[in-house]
C-alpha cells in the first residue's frame, strides 16, 4: 500500500495546477493513465478567456454576464462571478510560470474575439493555447519533482469511500498489471470529460469519463450529464477540432448554396454566436438539404484571411486539415460538421471544488474535483469558447488551495486494504476470467452510432427512447464481453474494456437526463420541446446510481445572484 497526503487523479491543466499549488506543503501524488504532457488539455486550441483588457476595453462584469447568458441561464452565478474575477490573476500567474503566449504590439498577451464574448478576451498562443498552458505546468511540475510523486500510466479503478468520506483510490499499474492502493487524506479528481461516447467527436481516446463514473459508482451523484457541447467545426468524417479561432480571426461558414447562413440564426453575432446556436444552425442546414452538394457537411471558409494571417495565427489548423483531409485552407474551404466536444456535466462541486451530493450542498469530506470532470456549474447548459481552459486553470488553482487547507488539518482515516484490493481486482477479474463472446469493438461502435444519431445536436422523445433500449441491450451484452489479452504487461485491451464500461454507464445517465428534461436549453435541444422552460427546468439534474445500476434523478436549484433569466438572442 502506498501512502500520500493528497492523491490527484488526472494530470491535465486542473490536476497539475492543483498539484503545483500544494507542492512543498504536503506530500502530493498525481496519477494519470497517460503521461502529463499527453493529457487532453493540450488539445485545446483557440484561447483562454480573461478580462485583461489588453486589446480593447473589457470588464469582469462583462465576462460574467456573457458567461451567464452563454450558459442559457443554467450556470450558477456565484461560481461564474468568482471564476471571471479570478481570471486575470490566474492568467498572469501562468505567464509568470513561463507560458509562451502570443503578444500584441505593446508586448502584452495578445487577445482575440471568440464566440459569445462581447469583447476580445481570448488570450492565446497561436492556435495551440492548451498545449502552451499544459506544457508550462508540466515544466513547473518537473521543478517540484521532489514534492510531487507521479504515477504515470496508472489506471484508476475505484474510489475508496468509507463512512461517507474519501480516503484514497485503487489503481492498476498499466506497465505490469499490478493493482495498488493509495491511502490518502484527500482525493482530488481532475480526470476530464466524456465526449468519447459519440461517433463524431473531437475528444481523445482517453476522454471516457473514468473519474466521473468512478465517483458515481462510489455513491456520488453526477450533475447535468445531458449537457454535451457539440462544437460547430469538427473536421468532416473525423470530428477533429478546427478551432473556433478560425471564426474569431474572421472565417465564414457557408452552406451548399454558398450563403453565410448564420445571418438567419444570429444576425448580430453571425459565426461568432455561441457554439450551441452555430451547431444547431449547421445541423438545420444539413437536415434541410443545404449541406455542401446536399451532403452532411458545411464549408469553413478561410481563404479571404490570406496566406500570411493563416500561417501566423492558425498554423496548426492548416496542418491538421492538410494531414487528415488533404485540404489546404489557403486555397480551399475546409469541410466541417458538428462534433461532440465538451462535457458540461460532471461531479457536483461547490466553488472551492469540494464535492457535494445534494441541493443542500452536503459535502463529501476529503473529496474534491476540478476541471472538465467537475460541474461547478460555470458553464450551465452551454460553455463559451475559451472558458474551459479558464475553468481548468481557475478551479485547479482553487482546488489546490482548498484541498491544501483541508489536508493540513486532516489525518489518514482507517481503510481496509484487503477489502479495497478485492473490490478493485473484481473489476479486472470480471473481464479477464469470463470467457466472453461479445466483441468490445462492436459494442463500442454501436454505442457511438446510437449516441451520435439519437442523442446528438437534436433530440426527440422517440430517439431517446430508442437509445435507452439500445444502451440497455449493449450493457447486457457487455457482461459477456471478450478480452483476449490475459497478460499483465501493458494490457491495453483490458484498459479499453474498462473505459467502455464507463462509456456505457454514463451514456445511460446522459439519456435519462435528456429524456426527463422536456425543454430546449443550451446544448440540449429537444425537437419536441423547442422552448426553454424556466418554470419547470431552471434547475440542475442530479443523477444517483441505485441498486444494480439504475438511474434515479433528483434536482438542485440554480444560483441566481444578479441576472434574471431572459430570452437569449444574439
Amino acid at each position: 500500500m502506498r501512502k500520500h497526503d493528497v492523491v490527484i487523479v488526472g494530470s491535465g491543466l486542473a490536476g497539475l495546477r492543483a498539484a503545483i499549488e500544494m507542492a512543498g506543503r504536503v506530500d502530493v501524488a498525481v496519477v494519470t493513465k497517460v503521461y502529463p504532457s499527453r493529457s487532453h488539455s493540450g488539445a485545446a486550441q483557440g484561447g483562454v478567456a480573461a478580462a485583461m483588457a489588453n486589446s480593447s476595453e473589457d470588464s469582469v462584469e462583462s465576462h460574467f454576464f456573457d458567461t451567464v447568458k452563454g450558459s442559457d441561464y443554467l450556470g450558477d452565478q456565484d461560481a461564474i462571478e468568482m471564476m471571471t474575477k479570478d481570471a486575470p490573476v490566474t492568467i498572469t500567474e501562468l505567464e509568470k510560470m513561463g507560458c509562451v503566449f502570443s503578444r500584441d504590439e505593446q508586448g502584452r498577451i495578445a487577445q482575440r474575439e471568440f464566440g459569445g464574448h462581447s469583447h476580445p478576451r481570448a488570450c492565446y498562443a497561436a492556435d495551440r493555447t492548451g498545449h502552451a498552458l499544459l506544457h508550462t505546468l508540466f515544466e513547473q511540475s518537473m521543478k517540484y519533482k521532489k514534492n510531487i510523486t507521479f504515477y504515470s500510466e496508472f489506471y484508476l479503478l475505484t474510489l475508496i469511500m468509507e463512512e461517507g468520506t474519501a480516503r484514497g483510490i485503487t489503481m492498476m499499474n498499466i506497465k505490469n498489471g499490478d493493482v495498488e492502493v493509495i491511502h490518502a487524506k484527500t482525493v482530488l479528481f481532475a480526470t476530464g470529460g466524456y465526449g468519447r461516447a459519440f461517433k463524431i467527436t473531437s475528444n481523445a481516446f482517453a476522454c471516457t469519463g473514468d473519474g466521473i463514473m468512478t465517483a458515481y459508482r462510489a455513491g456520488v451523484p453526477v450533475e447535468d450529464m445531458e449537457f454535451v457541447q457539440f462544437h460547430p467545426t469538427g473536421l468532416y468524417g473525423q470530428g477533429i477540432l478546427m478551432s473556433e479561432a478560425c471564426r474569431g480571426e474572421g472565417g465564414y461558414l457557408l452552406n451548399g448554396k454558398g450563403e453565410r447562413f448564420m445571418e438567419k440564426y444570429a444576425k448580430s453575432k453571425m459565426e461568432l454566436a455561441p457554439r450551441d446556436i452555430v451547431s444547431r444552425a449547421e445541423q438545420t442546414e444539413i437536415n434541410e438539404g443545404r449541406g455542401i452538394d446536399g451532403k452532411d457537411f458545411i464549408n469553413l471558409e478561410l481563404r479571404h484571411l490570406g496566406r500570411e494571417k493563416i500561417l501566423e495565427r492558425l498554423p496548426q489548423i492548416r496542418q491538421l486539415a492538410i494531414d487528415f483531409l488533404g485540404v489546404d485552407c489557403i486555397d480551399h474551404p475546409i469541410p466541417i460538421q458538428p462534433t461532440a466536444h465538451y462535457s458540461m456535466g460532471g461531479i457536483p462541486v461547490d466553488v472551492d471544488c469540494h464535492v457535494i451530493t445534494d441541493a443542500e450542498k452536503t459535502k463529501v469530506p476529503g473529496f474534491y474535483a476540478a476541471g472538465e470532470c467537475a460541474c461547478v456549474s460555470v458553464h450551465g447548459a452551454n460553455r463559451l469558447g475559451t472558458n474551459s481552459l479558464l475553468d481548468a486553470s481557475v478551479f485547479g488553482r482553487r482546488a489546490g488551495k482548498a484541498a491544501l487547507e483541508f489536508t493540513l488539518k486532516a489525518k489518514h482515516e482507517k481503510i481496509s486494504e484487503a477489502d479495497e484490493m478485492r473490490k478493485a481486482k473484481k473489476r479486472l477479474d470480471d473481464l479477464l476470467v469470463t470467457p466472453g463472446t461479445e466483441s468490445a469493438n462492436d459494442i463500442r461502435t454501436e454505442l457511438k452510432e446510437t449516441m451520435s444519431t439519437h442523442v446528438g445536436v437534436y433530440r426527440t422523445e422517440e430517439g431517446l427512447r430508442f437509445a435507452q433500449g439500445k444502451l440497455k441491450a449493449l450493457r447486457h451484452r457487455f457482461k459477456n464481453v471478450r478480452v483476449t489479452d490475459k497478460g499483465k504487461l501493458f494490457n491495453t485491451e483490458i484498459i479499453e474494456a474498462l473505459e467502455l464500461s464507463n462509456m456505457l454507464e454514463y451514456s445511460e445517465v446522459i439519456v435519462a437526463g435528456a429524456m426527463a428534461r422536456k425543454e430546449s436549453r443550451g446544448g440540449h435541444a429537444r425537437v419536441d420541446y423547442p422552448k426553454r422552460d424556466d418554470v419547470n427546468f431552471l434547475r440542475h439534474t442530479l443523477a444517483h446510481r441505485i441498486g444494480d445500476g439504475a438511474v434515479r434523478l433528483k434536482y438542485k436549484p440554480v444560483s441566481i445572484t444578479k441576472y434574471q433569466p431572459e430570452e437569449r438572442k444574439y
Binding site: 504532457s37 509568470k96 481523445a204 491538421l320 501493458f490 485491451e493
Partner: protein, 326 residues
C-alpha cells in the same frame, strides 16, 4: 485487396526478441496509420499493443517507426507509407521496448529533466500584470515551444544510437526555448551547462531529428541557434566551440592576418582540444591509429585552385554580418 502490415510483436516477459507479424488490412479511404493499427487491434488481434490518445497530432503518444523512420501514426495517411502494398511498423528506436510498439520512455523524460526545463525568472523584479515580451522576442521561442514530446527525434538520433549520455534533440530544443526567453534569468548558466560534454556540441548535424519532427520544433535548427548564442556569449572554452572557431579560422582566415581558404586537418584537432599539452596527448592514440592505417592528412595541405574566391566569400560573410549587427 488489402495491404500487408508487418508489425513488430514483442513481450518482454516471454520473448527473447521481437519478430514481425503480418496482418492484412483493407485500408479505408482517407484512413490514417493509427486507424489501421486500430483495425488490427479491434478486428484481428486484441493483444496487439500501442499507445495513442488525441489522434490530432498534439499529444505525442502514437509515435512509431514506419518503414524505418519515426512518425506520428495519427498524422500519417496510410496510403502515403504503403509501398508496393506493404508497410512495416516498429517501436521507436534508442529506447528499450516493453511490448509490441510500446517503448520505455523513462530515458527520454530523464534527459529532459537534465536541462532544467522550467523558467527561472528574476525574482527581484515584481510585476502586477503579465511581463512584457515583444512579438519579435516571442517568435525566437515560438518554434521550440511547439514540441509535443513525442520522442520521434530521440528515436532516430544517430548520436544517441552510439552514446546514450547525449542530451538528445528534444531536450536541446527545450533548452533553446529557455536560453532565448527574455523572461529567464539563467541564460549564462544554461549555456555553460549545454556547452559541456554530452551537450549541444555532441550533435553531428545529421538532421534526422528535424526531418522526423512532426511539429515546427525542428531540434537541429534550435541546436544551431544555441551554438551561435554560446559562441557569441563567450562560451568558447570547450572542444565543440573551439572546433567551430578553428574551422572558421582555417577556412575563413585569421582576423586581419589573412590566410584561410582551405581546411587544415592538422590544425583543426589541435585547435579543438585547446592547443594544450594535455589536449595534444589525448589526441595521440587516435593520431597514431590514423598514421598506422594511412589515414592521416598530408602534413603540407595542398592548395586548391581559386583559393582567393573562398577567401573573398568569407570576407563578404563578415561584411554582411557586420551590416546585420548594425
Amino acid at each position: 485487396m488489402g495491404a500487408k502490415f508487418f508489425v513488430s510483436r514483442y513481450n518482454s516477459e516471454v520473448d527473447a526478441k521481437a519478430h514481425l507479424q503480418e496482418f492484412t488490412v483493407v485500408v479505408p479511404k482517407g484512413a490514417t496509420l493509427l486507424d489501421c493499427l486500430n483495425i488490427i487491434k479491434w478486428e484481428q488481434d486484441g493483444t496487439f499493443s500501442f499507445r495513442m490518445s488525441c489522434r490530432s497530432a498534439i499529444c505525442g503518444s502514437c509515435a512509431v517507426r514506419v518503414n524505418g523512420h519515426a512518425r506520428l501514426a495519427c498524422k500519417t495517411q496510410a496510403a502515403d507509407v504503403i509501398v508496393d502494398g506493404e508497410v512495416t511498423i516498429e517501436p521507436l528506436g534508442n529506447l528499450p521496448v516493453i511490448r509490441d510498439l510500446i517503448v520505455d520512455l523513462e530515458p527520454f523524460w530523464e534527459s529532459l529533466e537534465r536541462v532544467k526545463p522550467w523558467l527561472v525568472p528574476d525574482e527581484t523584479k515584481k510585476f502586477d500584470r503579465e511581463r512584457l515580451q515583444s512579438h519579435h522576442d516571442q517568435l525566437k521561442i515560438d518554434a521550440a515551444s511547439t514540441c509535443i514530446m513525442c520522442g520521434s527525434c530521440y528515436s532516430d538520433c544517430n548520436v544517441l544510437n552510439v552514446d546514450k549520455m547525449f542530451l538528445g534533440p528534444a531536450s536541446l530544443a527545450k533548452a533553446q526555448r529557455f536560453v532565448f526567453d527574455t523572461r529567464d534569468s539563467e541564460k549564462e548558466a544554461r549555456l555553460d551547462f549545454l556547452s559541456q560534454v554530452n551537450g549541444m556540441w555532441d550533435c553531428t548535424h545529421c538532421a534526422e531529428c528535424s526531418t522526423r519532427c512532426p511539429t515546427e520544433a525542428k531540434p537541429l535548427e534550435r541546436i544551431i541557434e544555441l551554438r551561435q548564442e554560446a559562441v557569441n556569449s563567450g562560451f568558447t572554452n570547450n572542444n565543440g566551440a573551439r572546433h567551430v572557431l578553428g574551422f572558421r579560422e582555417s577556412i575563413g582566415g585569421f582576423k586581419g592576418k589573412g590566410g584561410g581558404g582551405m581546411l587544415n586537418e592538422n590544425y583543426l584537432p589541435l585547435r579543438s582540444v585547446g592547443l594544450s599539452l594535455g589536449g595534444m596527448l589525448s589526441l595521440l592514440p587516435v593520431g597514431i591509429r590514423m598514421i598506422m592505417r594511412g589515414k592521416n592528412p598530408p602534413m603540407i595541405p595542398h592548395i586548391i585552385d581559386k583559393i582567393g574566391e573562398v577567401r573573398k566569400m568569407f570576407r563578404r560573410f563578415d561584411e554582411y554580418r557586420k551590416e546585420g549587427e548594425k
